[in-house]
């Protein structure tokens, strides 16, 4: 392997209904912290994280766009997707309607606005709320296959379970899609 470090910049979006835990997932990934108070994202919360992928000796700058789940941003939303190469499609396992809008709204938006080929992972969040669960893991897995998602990952933004895995897996899938990784 060459000693030269390859450099990449990837813009990704985190999509899903309001209050499914998009911002909390990012906070867990970046700061390993969780806030109990829900503060809706206003517009776009944009965060940078530099990661190193040892497998291919590559430095990846990840620009994460955490987009507000509210309807009021629909007009400008198309511009937010420009240059995007991947997405985390997040639903809340305790609210079935958030699972349904993945296909009817969020994936539709991603396919409509992302001109280049993009990759996406389905995320079932809030698995710590076991006794309130409305969407089973099996339904999630089957749905991920149906919509051609690269993977299905269950997360808890509260405990931090799989938060890092979700983002690292997406980086891996993007590198794979562009032929940089086998």
């Amino acid at each position: 392997m060459s000693d030269e470090v390859k450099e990449f910049v990837f813009k990704i979006v985190v999509l899903g209904d309001a209050a499914v835990g998009k911002t909390s997932l990012i906070n867990q990934y970046i700061e390993r912290s969780f806030e109990e108070d829900y503060k809706p994202t206003l517009g776009a919360n944009i965060i940078r994280k530099d990661v190193f992928v040892e497998e291919i000796n590559a430095s990846v700058r990840l620009i994460m766009w955490d987009l507000a789940g509210q309807e009021k941003y629909n007009v400008i939303r198309s511009m937010y997707f420009q240059g995007c190469v991947g997405a985390l499609l997040v639903y809340d396992v305790t609210r079935h309607n958030t699972f349904e809008t993945i296909n009817s709204k969020w994936l539709k938006d991603f396919k409509k606005y992302v001109k280049k080929e993009g990759t996406y992972i389905l995320i079932g969040n809030k698995i710590d709320l076991t006794d309130q669960r409305m969407v089973s893991a099996e339904d999630g897995i089957n749905f991920a296959k149906k919509i051609n998602a690269s993977d299905y990952i269950e997360t808890s933004a509260k405990s931090g379970e799989n938060a890092e895995k979700a983002f690292e897996n997406l980086v891996h899938q993007i590198l794979k899609l562009h032929g940089n990784i086998k």
Partner: protein, 191 residues
Amino acid sequence: MPEREMIGDYKGEVKNKIVTALFQAYLDILDYDGLKSILKEAELLELKNYKGADPDETLDFFSFKKIITAQNCLLYNCSDLLFAIGKKFSFYLFPFGKKFEDVIEEINVLIKTDWNIQILEKTKKYITVRVEKCFFCSEIGISCDLIMGFLLHSIEKTLPPDKRVDYHRTKEDIKDPNHNTFVVKFKSKKK
């Protein structure tokens, strides 16, 4: 902001009305969390309530450049958004419109650093502008969409409502370290 002695590329100062117009443009296009994201990346989150600052006071250019660098980092590959921010920036800086010559004169005064914008030629149909050392896009890999949006909107505002503006410039090579010095020709057309 305390006064600091600045050197080289970061020497200069920026009138607060520039900063507040730019922040208002961020708010319109990216909303509150977008503005906060840029300021956080610039490590200047304390400026988030800058709106009430005295318009005649100044911000040091080093801090202003940190904001622009953070913007360019987070808005990587977002030329449409940068262009839209540039248009809004023009709108908030000169809300009632202004003669284009006055806009150019004023922007050079409001942002004092090693850069310059000048009108090379102005006819009934064309305006040719030279932008030298544009700090909005001085990084390699960053296109000059923000300043183009700003100039285009500033010209459009001086035209009758049935006219629009197109622009032409030689192909931009964003890998060239001098890509932030360029000439652009604006042409007014019927809508």
